[in-house]
Symmetry: C2
Subunit: 372 residues, 2 copies
Amino acid sequence: MATSLLLNYKYRILYSTFIGVGVRKTRQILVGNVKIGGGTPVSIQSMTNTDTADSVATLHQIDQLAAAGCQIARCAVQNHDALTPFGEICRLSPIPIVADIHFDHTLAIGALERGAACVRVNPGNLLSEKAARDVAHKAAEMGRPIRIGVNMGSLSENAKARYGRTPKAMVESALQYVRLFEEEGCHALKVSLKASDVRTTVSACRMFAEKTDIPLHLGITEAGPVSCGIVKSAVGIGALLLEGIGDTIRVSLTAPPVEEIKAALRILEATGLRKAEPEIISCPTCARTRIDLMQLVSAVEKAIDELKASGHKFKVGSIAVMGCEVNGPGEASNADIGIAGAANKQGILFRKGRKITTLEAGELLPALLKEL
Amino acid sequence: MATSLLLNYKYRILYSTFIGVGVRKTRQILVGNVKIGGGTPVSIQSMTNTDTADSVATLHQIDQLAAAGCQIARCAVQNHDALTPFGEICRLSPIPIVADIHFDHTLAIGALERGAACVRVNPGNLLSEKAARDVAHKAAEMGRPIRIGVNMGSLSENAKARYGRTPKAMVESALQYVRLFEEEGCHALKVSLKASDVRTTVSACRMFAEKTDIPLHLGITEAGPVSCGIVKSAVGIGALLLEGIGDTIRVSLTAPPVEEIKAALRILEATGLRKAEPEIISCPTCARTRIDLMQLVSAVEKAIDELKASGHKFKVGSIAVMGCEVNGPGEASNADIGIAGAANKQGILFRKGRKITTLEAGELLPALLKEL
């Protein structure tokens, strides 16, 4: 969590009131030591792509994920041989581990016995209702939470028959599975409703949010190549978070998992649920731009990353790098400190929109860094 | 528009009904030959960052923007020397040109006289009410539209005094300016309400949308470095578009303008307002992944880009590249054609979720390309 400051529930409520919508009230569950729901800050998850049987490689990746800001990691448990290394991963990981299970419910039970903080099942692809009930019973007995994952590709048969491949069918599937798990005494549940289509996902999550108090895990599944995937995830997850829906998120990208964490942090920052420390505000380049803005922004980003890595405590919360004096200081008057291009290869340094001094272009970056 | 298919109003209404919200009804205006509002497809804009006085360089950039899918380009007109080259740009550009004016209203009038398809003014930084009325009068006389741009940095004095630096103050500023322009007979208006903060922007646009039928130009101003800027824009613009709000968009990035067009297209695709042709669906990598998914997705993207560049007509609308047989064909059963990894360095080719054949890993890409 080096790069972000967690913001609390009060802040979320304040913001939501501000924009005229409520924050959805959900029951709270515990995945290891991470609270999900009940007004706690939205947490970030990812999934390892190493072979779970290779516990050393997997733990190495989890360390990288945790360092980047990941709070919960999920590992696929594909067969019984993976259970022993999975147990090792659970024991040694710095963050809680969720077992990802498909088809074979005995793997879910085995993963719980080996220390999984949570198990993600897709009841639609477990072999029978009995199998799902066995998992629910075990989780209830051990006091562990379950994530029920419903994808458009794995709807319950009767929901699919009744509603087709629709958001409604996803919600009905999820509610059926929830009832089944609750009947076995398993109430520590979270649910994900994922489709590769943003509108379908948003619609399903909204509908589900109205019907229950179960925390929602948000994500767009099979979001595609990284360039499109980030946009799809930002639109879908972002729109829901702006409405106060969503308790934990995973950005799915066809990319190294650490990229998922970076993207997730940016979404939380964009929705105002975390604050980047410090935030960089910069303007698009236009014909008014008086300085080499792209180069300057890159240099500022690099300098901030280096300061962060050295454990620097920043004196400012936001930094503006603006192309010109026209919009610069005015637009960035919320920024604690800023620089903007001016005529004659000069620039200005400003604080809260107020000009402090005029400098030569080459002096701007050093002057800005001195203020951090 | 080589890469995207425009989707019509019926489709937007269908989608919006589907997710339970309406599409906002707006008055229609014409920027050159591009219709904005009144149910026409959401259009994409960008702004040149060349010196407008250098008409050759600017026209070259506009050509690049148009080729990438930009439908309207904006050029800053900073002084009277830029007016003659600006007129040349208007005459020779393949897409309509908007003049971006600050401070000096005589530049707005000059730009209209030289062929600007629209003028963007920020009435908050024009020198007087009289100046704004002169611009309005001229535009009305010539039958040209005006974009009224309100930024948090340039609120009207009385709105700021009354409501502080809030979304409400932005909306009140905009409505005051709208009244002023309409009083002069200028009804072909569009409005932008931009803040660098996503929630403020979304909130202001929602409020404005409820009060008028004036088309909205959406964007997040000073969105910051490209990595954060794309996410901020996708969340803010995306959330509004999902609600049926927004008639034309610009993604502001501190990056080459063509990147803004690519990001804008991705946002329209993610919100279902345009269809990527063909769309690539791929899953995140996980321990179940049986093939080198990232490499394969890149190869598919590259092949599609090359086919597009050669003017190829695709036989399929969506292509799935999936890591494993577990989720692959099921999740991607909407995809017209797909490949997924299987055990023993093999993979499967599937159509609409149904397996066609099993192939060696190396044969997957050629087999897929044959189907396009």
